[in-house]
Symmetry: C4
Subunit: 233 residues, 4 copies
Amino acid sequence: MSQYQALKQTCYEANMQLPALGLVLFTFGNASVVDREHQVFAIKPSGVPYATLRPDDIVIVDLEGRVVEGDKRPSSDTKTHALLFKEWPMIGGIVHTHSTYATAWAQAQADIPILGTTHADHLTADVPCAPPMSDELIAGDYEHQTGWQIIQEFEKRGLSPAEVEMILVGNHAPFTWGKTVEKAVYHSAVLEELARLAYLSCTLRPGVARLKDALIKKHYERKHGANSYYGQS
Amino acid sequence: MSQYQALKQTCYEANMQLPALGLVLFTFGNASVVDREHQVFAIKPSGVPYATLRPDDIVIVDLEGRVVEGDKRPSSDTKTHALLFKEWPMIGGIVHTHSTYATAWAQAQADIPILGTTHADHLTADVPCAPPMSDELIAGDYEHQTGWQIIQEFEKRGLSPAEVEMILVGNHAPFTWGKTVEKAVYHSAVLEELARLAYLSCTLRPGVARLKDALIKKHYERKHGANSYYGQS
Amino acid sequence: MSQYQALKQTCYEANMQLPALGLVLFTFGNASVVDREHQVFAIKPSGVPYATLRPDDIVIVDLEGRVVEGDKRPSSDTKTHALLFKEWPMIGGIVHTHSTYATAWAQAQADIPILGTTHADHLTADVPCAPPMSDELIAGDYEHQTGWQIIQEFEKRGLSPAEVEMILVGNHAPFTWGKTVEKAVYHSAVLEELARLAYLSCTLRPGVARLKDALIKKHYERKHGANSYYGQS
Amino acid sequence: MSQYQALKQTCYEANMQLPALGLVLFTFGNASVVDREHQVFAIKPSGVPYATLRPDDIVIVDLEGRVVEGDKRPSSDTKTHALLFKEWPMIGGIVHTHSTYATAWAQAQADIPILGTTHADHLTADVPCAPPMSDELIAGDYEHQTGWQIIQEFEKRGLSPAEVEMILVGNHAPFTWGKTVEKAVYHSAVLEELARLAYLSCTLRPGVARLKDALIKKHYERKHGANSYYGQS
């Protein structure tokens, strides 16, 4: 039996949450979970439908994106996951979907503005949309460059991946992450709802104002601050 | 056994209606029910997913928001519920959700205009949207102030909480109430549908006219007036 | 046993189709079926939730809207149904809903333009939206006048209720009918989809052109004309 | 037993996928599968609801649209399918639906612009919308002419049906195809999602720019090019 059986099972269960939460159509998405001790991560195989996916189909890959264990080819987005795990040691799981409203914002090449407390409960910034990469980078090691595109957008904006756990890749679709893959899945579902709420508010009242700073701070701190009082711990 | 067992059960069942009616995602909502004799109310614990919620998790709180019975921390919105129960003796239950269309209107900081008889069957006014509170109040006892924000908006507009049983808190989300918590849940579902209908009408025909007074009056009275003839009693 | 048992059963089943097709929320709708021989019709009782509705709850009413058989109060819209059955001898069933997209058009006081063959497969005209009635009529026998509002709109436009089997009552919601109540239910579901399609086309391309006459004629005739070749008979 | 039993079963299963994927309401759609050896194809009977459809109801038709086997009348769109199978030897199955968002674009007489990688993963062009045919052609052999309308639009634009496997017929609805009928069904579901994504992006940001060529090429090639690395083979 594989030493990565538990890792594969965790990865399998996270992937199966994506269709259950209405975040993927057919095979348009993938979830991964890292094992920091062994410097590997588990990821969905490429193009396998969720209906037939089994825990043993999950592929184990190292942080350069090379297959360590598994019969199947890993997700075509594997090198993006690999780079994020390598560069961001604080994250434990990554999710990529083409969920409808988040992808519509990515296609519009627009940040999702922070318009309400539902958003502020989860992050204090607009959800960033990274502009498309240059033609040279696209023609090169594309999925690896997608990882850099994400990381550099965070650096350019001075955002921390420990605080803002989601991004839109312009003209493509969202990536989310978290301390665990369960949290990364949760962030994908939250992002889709934030994208839907903002779509509705912006089409109802074009030019609607962003949430004021005092409310952004209050809602985020009551859930995530030193004196948080949301939840049970 | 707790003397509040029945109260907890009623509160539990009302909370479980929220995901069943499609009004909450994850833990984004809560329902409470008051016991006027003992001056306490039952409310959902904070951050507990609906899938694992049990009647015994429900927390009993007094009208100052202090826990009377229960192992868990009550909803972070408890002080808002407490103030509304204290100030408005005619209400028996309160529901707070982040339901999609109602929240989109709250984010747009706009009243939901009364455009049709579906709306007039339930209330004769636009659904009010209270403007965000001042930075000073946000930094203070925020959830308690949210209660005042609601109450003062009703006073400013001359609305009665016995007749208009719903409000949008600007940039946040809706609160509804009723003589019973079952009615508060019903009003949350009705509000979400009114918000969706108005969104569609307003994006289809910007500047669409409000319903004329004679129709507002007629529909409300046939359902709620002295000579009402809707329903079985 | 009632001589109207079969009539009640048919009416019950038609009513239960409305929530199954996603056309009603709570109690916002009703279906009726006429017995031309006995000059009575069966209709849903007022305000009874679909979840608890039983065939024996269905009320039998004459064409003046007076209860003939049944313990419950009939739908508050009974007089509208009664007048339509009385004035339009070719119809066998009527359905009233507040289905979302159709109601959004009614709230916008706008006809649903014929934009495609999905529409032309069912009717060759825009779905008419009757303007709200005068304040005097609203204050009078309102539901009876709603029937006249529908009939007079058809007369004004030169439409035949045998060919156009649906209408929007301005600021209110849709009514549909048919030779049988099953067809009336079908028309309610078709109308909701036509309303949704037209909403999307009109918000995507404001001022989009109506379907050209040759296509309207072709699609309607292949389904309903003397030489129709759609379906099995 | 019919020599076409397996063909009918394949056709039946493809048709049953259409309501399962939310692509058809009532009887508004049909799927067909060709047998190139015998120069016949299997197609859904006209106007039969999916709930009661059985494999034996499927009709076998030759490439002129004449019934070869079956008790029922074939789909009223049979001649469109026949011509496409006859003229395009590389396709094995065809699907026609009135799926909501794709039909809304067809009603708007607009191509669906390529705005993101979800689109580019499947085709490198805008989804073409063929303009309505002339009144003379409509009055003639309409369904046969619909086939020509599709074929000529592809010729006019220099598109290959092996690479672009979907089209909108203006003011009508979409047709899709593929090497197999399973792929044709898949393309119908993909088209509906592309139509929905583009609707949202275009209403959010009118005039949004098309995807740049380098990204179109990259995404299509990684899935369909000579050195593709998506999927398992």
